[in-house]
């Protein structure tokens, strides 16, 4: 219990730090422009390249600090465009974070709007202030009939402002993510779709229940129960899951067996969703996982769920077959299907992008090529990041006139990088199971 209180108090602090971090990056980027123009006066031949590099490295630094060892956003950013939703979301939540938490009268009003009753009438106890911040709302703790509950309340007006907020951050995203406009717009629609879904709390309850039921048979997983009669458009009521976040848990020096058990549960959870349910909890953010006593993994927040279309699924996962990397003809076809290359490309471009993607895939598919993979292996991650750096600094990529990669890949990539990162944090060794058709 004492542990919990500490955790709750620490959250707003880090929120402020995050915001501060973000502001300081803004200042630095501004500074880079100053520096750039100052240098340009002295040396007119200087190009914008230097400026972009300066910007990128400052943003990179700050992003990697911001989430600490969490999702290594910065690395992910340079390695694949999958970062986009994360960065967008962070910006988006950043905008929300700058607002103070909802006042209690507004919480009461939201309840009255949705249920015609005040929280005091609905629950035995209800915390007056938020105990935690969710990305687009806040969480209160309550009790009812001796049960501890978590109540998530959405900020008013968020749902309406998704589109306009995205438009607002677009120019920043262009600069920050170092991608061209065509690419950005290609992904924008996808991001918008997910964000709008995320504001639909009724859908979230439905999906949470669906996925948690479908994954109920997986050992060592714990899901909260969701309460329909206490949930509405802007309010979700579920069981309070107590336990530790991954980072805190790792500080208690858990044994290798414990870490493997959690890691395996995590892997199985994703395996089942991706290959059997074809819809996936696409937000493997450390905050969404809670480790309970007895090495049980609690999973919360199904706000972001990506449904995987069948044809995309076939193409994407066919890539992880080891022998495929040798069979050029099949590979070419898949590259076409997944929109990595197209007929608009010149032969040189085709060869270049094929080379890069093959390298990327063989690297990312590595855990699938063996039966058991040790995610504690930092070399593997360094290799990924180095490749990412190379790609992001490559002129061919930046000048590419078209978007590369199917939009569906955006969240799937993000999910897998997130998963790999979590497993790396856990330093777990897991049985990397594959669906039968890929064995």
């Amino acid at each position: 219990m004492s542990n919990k209180i500490k955790e709750q108090q620490s959250i707003p602090v880090s929120k402020v730090q995050r915001a501060a971090k973000f502001i300081s990056t803004g200042a630095k980027v501004g500074g880079n422009y100053m520096k750039h123009y100052a240098k340009k006066v002295v040396n007119p031949s200087m190009t914008n390249e230097q400026l972009h590099t300066d910007n990128a490295s400052d943003i990179y630094k700050s992003l990697s600090q911001m989430k600490g060892s969490a999702l290594k956003i910065a690395q992910m950013m340079s390695m694949d465009k999958n970062l986009l939703p994360r960065a967008y979301q962070d910006k988006f939540t950043m905008a929300q974070y700058s607002a103070p938490p909802l006042s209690y009268p507004l919480v009461v009003k939201t309840f009255q709007k949705n249920f015609g009753k005040s929280p005091d009438q609905m629950f035995d106890t209800f915390t007056r202030s938020a105990v935690n911040a969710a990305s687009i709302g806040q969480v209160h703790q309550a009790t009812k009939d001796g049960k501890k509950l978590a109540i998530k309340i959405q900020y008013p007006g968020v749902a309406d402002s998704v589109t306009s907020d995205l438009r607002l951050v677009r120019p920043f995203a262009l600069r920050l993510l170092n991608m061209n406009e065509i690419e950005l717009d290609h992904y924008m629609g996808e991001v918008e779709e997910r964000l709008i879904e995320e504001t639909d709390y009724l859908l979230e309850v439905e999906r949470s229940r669906e996925i948690s039921e479908a994954c109920g048979h997986i050992p060592n997983l714990k899901f909260p129960i969701y309460y329909d009669e206490l949930s509405a458009d802007r309010i979700i009521t579920m069981d309070w899951i107590s336990g530790k976040h991954i980072k805190e848990w790792m500080d208690t020096n858990p044994s290798q067996e414990s870490r493997n058990q959690i890691g395996q549960a995590l892997w199985d959870f994703y395996h089942h969703q991706v290959h059997n349910l074809k819809q996936v909890h696409a937000d493997p953010h450390p905050g969404n996982f809670i480790i309970q006593d007895g090495d049980q993994l609690g999973i919360i927040d199904f706000g972001c769920v990506k449904v995987i279309p069948e044809d995309f699924y076939q193409g994407y996962f066919a890539l992880i077959k080891k022998e495929l990397l040798i069979n050029q003809k099949d590979l070419d076809q898949i590259f076409y299907d997944l929109e990595f290359i197209s007929d608009k490309d010149t032969e040189v471009e085709k060869a270049f992008f094929k080379g890069i993607f093959t390298e990327m895939i063989s690297l990312l598919g590595k855990p699938f090529h063996v039966d058991k993979f040790d995610f504690a292996d930092d070399d593997f991650f360094n290799e990924i990041f180095q490749l990412g750096d190379r790609i992001s600094n490559d002129k061919m990529f930046r000048k590419s006139r078209q978007a590369r990669g199917s939009r569906h890949g955006l969240y799937i990539n993000r999910t897998y990088f997130g998963l790999y990162n979590l497993l790396n944090q856990l330093k777990a060794e897991v049985n990397t199971t594959k669906p039968q058709w890929l064995e």
Binding site: S103, Y104, L106, V108, P156
Partner: protein
């Protein structure tokens, strides 16, 4: 809108009947009746009788506003938690509840106030009673806020806080009239943000400390 359907079986309170009739007329026609004579006739009343209750349409509109205020306060006080609220929360609570009450009469309010352009500078006369009632309520909050040190006492300015809070209410009303968001969520956000700003401005700040310091320097130079 229970007011719209006056109870005709028993001896009706004429005052309530006139208010309800007036609101209904505005709702049906989108404007106020052409004359007291016509209006009274429609209510099966003669003009003379009408003047026993109200002397003009302005007076009726004023009564509607008063009722809005009373309903808001009654609703607010029926919420148990209201007593425990801080000054800031009380004002928030008032505005959120007010908006709920306004919502019940939105069409009426829109047809009377939706089109007007210069409402910011000119306060319609019929709102004056509402304003003075609100100011009494605001002064209570301010007094309480000063006791709990949520609000800083400042010479001259702090006597005008009630006026400032009134302007805020009027701002929220204007904002709400133009709000097109689902369930008026934008208005909720506007209330939340503007009240927070107001209380941050009224609270003790660096500015007070600065004045204090400046005074010290001046006196000791």
């Amino acid at each position: 809108m229970e007011k719209v359907k006056p109870n005709k079986t028993t001896k009706v309170d004429h005052r309530t009947k006139i208010i309800a009739g007036y609101v209904e007329h505005v709702l049906e026609h989108g404007k106020q009746p052409a004359s007291v004579f016509k209006f009274a006739k429609a209510l099966n009343m003669n003009e003379e009788e009408f003047y026993n209750y109200f002397t003009s349409f302005e007076a009726i509109k004023s009564a509607v506003w008063s009722k809005l205020f009373e309903d808001t306060i009654n609703n607010l006080e029926s919420q148990e938690v209201f007593k425990e609220y801080s000054a800031r929360e009380k004002l928030l609570g008032f505005l959120f509840t007010l908006v709920e009450e306004l919502k019940k009469n939105r069409s009426y309010l829109l047809s009377l106030y939706g089109e007007k352009k210069n409402m910011k500078s000119l306060l319609p006369t019929e709102v004056k009673v509402f304003r003075s009632k609100f100011k009494d309520f605001a002064n209570e909050i301010i007094l309480e806020g000063k006791e709990t040190e949520e609000i800083a006492s400042r010479p001259v300015i702090s006597d005008r806080y009630d006026e400032a809070l009134w302007l805020q209410v009027w701002f929220v009303f204007q904002f709400w009239l133009k709000d097109t968001s689902t369930a008026f969520e934008k208005t909720d956000a506007a209330i939340e943000k503007s009240v927070n700003l107001a209380f941050d401005l009224m609270g003790k700040s660096a500015f007070d400390t600065f004045i204090d310091f400046a005074k010290f320097l001046y006196q000791n130079k």
